[in-house]
Chain length 201, copies 2
DNA sequence: CAGTGTATTTAGGAGTCCTAACTATCTGGA
DNA sequence: TCCAGATAGTTAGGACTCCTAAATACACTG
């Protein structure tokens, strides 16, 4: 590496730099989440669980949530226990499977969730200033990477359209959802769809 | 939201979806780092510190590393203590400031660092399959978001060219580094430059 | 209905992450 | 010169993360 410091080392690999940038952004987002959680007297996972359980149509069981956040069941169980102790969620046996537990927000839980769910709004606002075409491109690139990681089994669940068995090519639009029977533009593709079912039997 | 489940909710905001995708990818990368660290009997932060200290030309003090990883000084101090106990780094008073501590890898530390520093190679390989133009675009978009977050003081240090006081517009190339006196293409912009100095006095 | 598998919790240990408080050292004046 | 105020780092202590292993309870299959 003659004389250019290690410029070449960073030059030779756009791929590595893209990954590094994603990592940095991820770190920033994580820090942001941590601070928001703290503001509400919660830990990061606790807040994530609270927000997720606050969404309708998503699975609200310990196992599903553990997969969603890529942690073990005991870790998530701890977080739920803490949330329950704080009076923000209620735990109840599932109707169809009494081994399982359904989570539900209490009134207090809904209150906190609604105040905290916009924790990433600052970043979203920054994104608003960028050209739509760039964002579409970046979105496609990021989801391609996520899909690749999921295919390799690195990351457990990602309920993205890109990995969903109902995603088809469209006739008038680029894509088509065979479950909802809806045409989809590129910007309609979701990152976290309640109806998602993995491809390949 | 009439009848389309919450499709519209996800439709209306490409910005939010881009952020969600970044968050997911960040989560996956974090999980990957955790596993690699585990493989070497280390914790995530310990591995990050080990790798960072293994790079030349970067600050190797506790404070700088804490800022780099967005954690408090005590947290990083703990990690360093653990690494020292494992015989992977040495702690020594800095030459110019005897309050400060310089870290250095031991032979064992270099060994582990060199085996683990490619922890994200799997993702990089996935990126290699994507078109260069897309990656350039995505890289620009991600760094724009990071720069925005840094400007807002959300994230502490990001030694990116985009926030560096030495970055100029180039004549033949899009950019120019006024410190190294080098022309820079878009793909030359760095995410973590040793020579970085923040803009604005 | 026995056997196997699944959902979750408990137990226990290393590490993360914080704030507060303390030591040692540096730095800028009077 | 000497001291007040900053700064680099550590220690202390508490809540939480994250794991594996083991237990409990229930579900499914033949």
């Amino acid at each position: 590496m003659p004389g250019t410091f290690d410029l070449d080392q960073q030059h030779w690999d756009l791929d590595a730099k893209l990954v590094a940038a994603a990592e940095r952004l991820g770190q920033a987002l994580r820090a942001l989440l941590r601070r928001e959680a703290r503001r509400h007297g919660l830990s990061p996972v606790q807040l994530q669980v609270l927000i997720q359980v606050g969404q309708r149509a998503y699975p609200k069981r310990v196992g599903a949530l553990a997969a969603r956040f890529d942690v073990s069941a005991p870790t998530l169980s701890d977080a739920v226990a803490a949330l329950e102790a704080k009076g923000l969620v209620v735990r109840r046996p599932a109707a169809d499977d009494r081994r399982a537990v359904e989570l539900e927000l209490t009134a207090a839980g809904r209150e906190v969730a609604s105040r905290a769910e916009g924790w990433a709004d600052g970043v979203t606002a920054l994104a608003a200033a960028l050209p739509t075409a760039d964002k579409l491109q970046a979105f496609a690139t990021l989801t391609a990477l996520i899909a690749g990681l999921q295919a390799e089994g690195v990351v457990s669940v990602a309920r993205m359209c890109r990995t969903c068995r109902f995603l088809r090519e469209g006739t008038d639009t680029p894509y088509w959802c065979a479950l909802l029977e809806l045409p989809l533009e590129r910007e309609d593709l979701r990152v976290d769809c309640p109806e998602h079912e993995p491809r390949a039997a």
